[in-house]
């Protein structure tokens, strides 16, 4: 049994706090990407026309097809990234991880043809004793902008490690 840790905060976290990553840039978003996403998240019902029918979408305030707000333009990158080196779950203190939640503010819709840039920083954390033992709540903030420099969304994601 390894010695009980006093903190799950690593030197890497201290070094990276508030350091914004180099922007990651998506491939151009296609109508097909949007349609498939909408079908998946509405399955088994037909998704709203706003996501796949240009004639209908032109009649709305959006004046054209837009992506569902939860759409991810960064899926299926090439070159295919290698899996990050993470310790196997449950092998010791601090090696268990969960998705704690997210909070997103939406500013500009994503449209076919858009190229989205994303930058992320570790912005905050706090640590406390929970029923899981010593537990670390870390918040990463991600900002997306489109090819015109317009802010698309700001998301804050909480990860939990214990």
């Amino acid at each position: 049994m390894s010695e009980k840790l006093d903190t799950l905060v690593t030197q890497n976290m201290l070094d990276k706090r508030d350091q914004w990553s180099e922007p990651r840039v998506s491939r151009p978003v296609s109508e097909s990407d949007i349609r498939k996403w909408a079908i998946a998240v509405y399955w088994p019902e037909e998704p709203p026309k706003l996501y796949w029918n240009e004639d209908y979408a032109l009649s709305t305030r959006y004046e054209g097809i837009v992506a569902p707000l939860d759409f991810n333009p960064f899926a299926w990158p090439v070159p295919v990234p290698s899996a990050p080196p993470t310790p196997p779950m449950g092998t010791g203190q601090g090696t268990n991880a969960m998705n704690g939640g997210q909070a997103v503010e939406y500013v500009t819709p994503i449209r076919p043809g858009d190229v989205i840039s994303s930058s992320t920083a570790l912005v905050d954390w706090n640590e406390r004793e929970t029923r899981l033992g010593l537990t670390l709540f870390s918040t990463n903030e991600t900002r997306w902008t489109n090819q015109d420099g317009a802010l698309v969304k700001i998301s804050k994601n909480t990860s939990i490690r214990y």
């Binding site: 998240v41 709305t60 704690g100 503010e105």
Partner: protein, 144 residues
């Protein structure tokens, strides 16, 4: 143009129509396919159990996040704008769960010319357990 609701017609305390899905691998696999989210705990019962879920493979949090957006959009319509959505994951989405996305209007306000409603939202499973409580803000069209 598809306009479902106007800001003036919504009262605090109003419960928006719930949005329901029974979820299983058919839903999770389709979501994995579009989000490139192929993680063994969402695909394989042995991996799910190794990840501390006795019932096996379980659903993605991101898919419940999407379902809440669907609820808000289907209620508010295509002349509205979902401005913010946040949630916490409190319980696992097990295979064959019947998930009810629910929302209640808790405030109305006008800010920077936008007519806003704030909602408390959640994803409730068939046992009545709130699996993903959160908040949302929606900009609604006005009659004026």
């Amino acid at each position: 143009m598809a306009n479902n609701v106007y800001w003036e017609d919504i009262e605090v305390g109003y419960e928006i129509p719930k949005w329901t899905r029974k979820t299983d691998l058919m839903h999770w696999n389709r979501y994995a396919a579009v989000n490139d989210e192929f993680i063994y705990i969402h695909m394989d019962d042995d991996a799910g159990r190794a990840g501390a879920n006795e019932q096996g493979a379980f659903g993605m949090g991101n898919l419940r996040f999407a379902y809440l957006h669907n609820m808000l959009r289907d209620w508010a319509g295509d002349e509205a704008w979902v401005k913010a959505v946040g949630l916490q994951y409190r319980a696992i989405n097990q295979k064959n769960d019947v998930l009810d996305c629910v929302g209640t209007v808790v405030a109305k306000r006008v800010e920077n010319g936008e007519h806003l409603v704030d909602l408390e939202i959640n994803v409730i499973n068939q046992s009545g357990q709130g699996t993903a409580p959160g908040q949302a803000t929606v900009v609604l069209p006005t009659r004026s």
